[in-house]
């Protein structure tokens, strides 16, 4: 076996020099190099810039998205803070409103109580005045009735007591007074 390999190597070296010894065809190699250079040039001219632009655009988009996400997060945090502040303010305002409402309700209750008490006092005073007026009217009526009865009785008595002689004397006195 070892002998066969050594014989094959020796045969190849003797046919094409170093390249031949290495098994390389220099024409094919040059052609491949040129093709490779053309490929590199084509890639550098048309493909790589497009790829780089796409990558850059993609990266920019990613960065913009990341920036937007950060901004959105910052906005969200700020909004959250604002909401918290508003909530706190609303709670504080609600507490104030409740406290004010309680105070006003208490004052209204006290005011209503005062008014009711004053109204009650007024009603009592009016009733007392009315009673006093009624008593005065009753007294007046009693006085007038008594006076009428006294006058009626006097007239009755005078009607019987005044005789013609007495009447003549009364008339005479009246005439004297006129003179």
């Amino acid at each position: 076996m070892q002998r066969s390999l050594i014989q094959f190597a020796a045969e190849s070296t003797t046919k094409g020099g170093v390249f031949g010894a290495l098994g390389i065809d220099w024409k094919t190699l040059v052609l491949q190099i040129v093709a490779f250079i053309i490929l590199v040039w084509l890639l550098g001219k048309y493909v790589y810039p497009w790829l780089i632009r796409s990558v850059d655009a993609r990266q920019a988009a990613i960065e913009a998205a990341a920036q937007a996400a950060r901004t959105a997060q910052a906005n969200a945090e700020e909004t959250e803070k604002k909401i918290a502040g508003l909530l706190h303010a609303a709670q504080s305002e609600a507490r104030d409103i409740i406290a004010t409402a309680k105070l006003e309700a208490s004052e209204a209750l006290a005011d209503a109580d005062d008014k009711a008490r004053a109204r009650g006092d007024q009603i009592i005073a009016d009733a007392q005045d009315q009673i006093a007026r009624d008593i005065a009217i009753a007294k007046q009526a009693l006085h007038d009735d008594t006076l009428s009865l006294v006058m009626l009785a006097t007239e009755k008595v005078l009607g019987k007591a005044v005789t013609k002689d007495i009447d003549n004397k009364v008339i005479t006195e009246s005439l004297k007074e006129v003179r």
Binding site: Q140, D144, L147, E155, L158, V162, V170, S174, L175, V178
Partner: protein, 132 residues
């Protein structure tokens, strides 16, 4: 249609005619006719008073008297004298009326002199004074 005269002028005409000796009944007829013609019959009482007033200026007065009983002749004379003295009248005619409701005393009503000294008036005054 008759001319519309004032009550005073009618009264003056009436008194002058009577004092001139014209018949009273005829004058009364004329007055009644005049009042009917001028549709002033409602003024009869006022004209009567005006006639009495005009008479009083001629020394003839009519005194309205209200008493509870008939006046004696002495009282009549006293009243006539009083009216004559007070009003300087020549003739006094008494027009007396009896009203038991006045109870006693006298009510005298004559032009220029008015007196109400009846017992009923005194009682009314007393009652008014004692009213609260």
């Amino acid at each position: 249609m008759a001319i519309r005269l004032s009550r005073r002028k009618v009264a003056q005409y009436f008194v002058k005619a009577i004092l001139a000796g014209k018949q009273t009944s005829q004058l009364l007829h004329e007055l009644a006719a005049y009042l009917l013609d001028t549709k002033r019959t409602k003024e009869l009482e006022l004209i009567t008073r005006d006639i009495e007033y005009v008479f009083s200026h001629h020394g003839v007065v009519v005194a309205d008297i209200v008493t509870a009983s008939e006046l004696t002749s002495a009282l009549r004379q006293a009243i006539s004298k009083l009216v004559r003295d007070r009003l300087d009248a020549k003739t006094v005619e008494l027009r007396a009326r009896v009203e038991p409701t006045v109870l006693g005393g006298i009510k005298l009503d004559v032009a220029g002199l008015r007196l109400d000294d009846t017992l009923s008036h005194r009682l009314t005054t007393l009652r008014a004074q004692h009213k609260i």
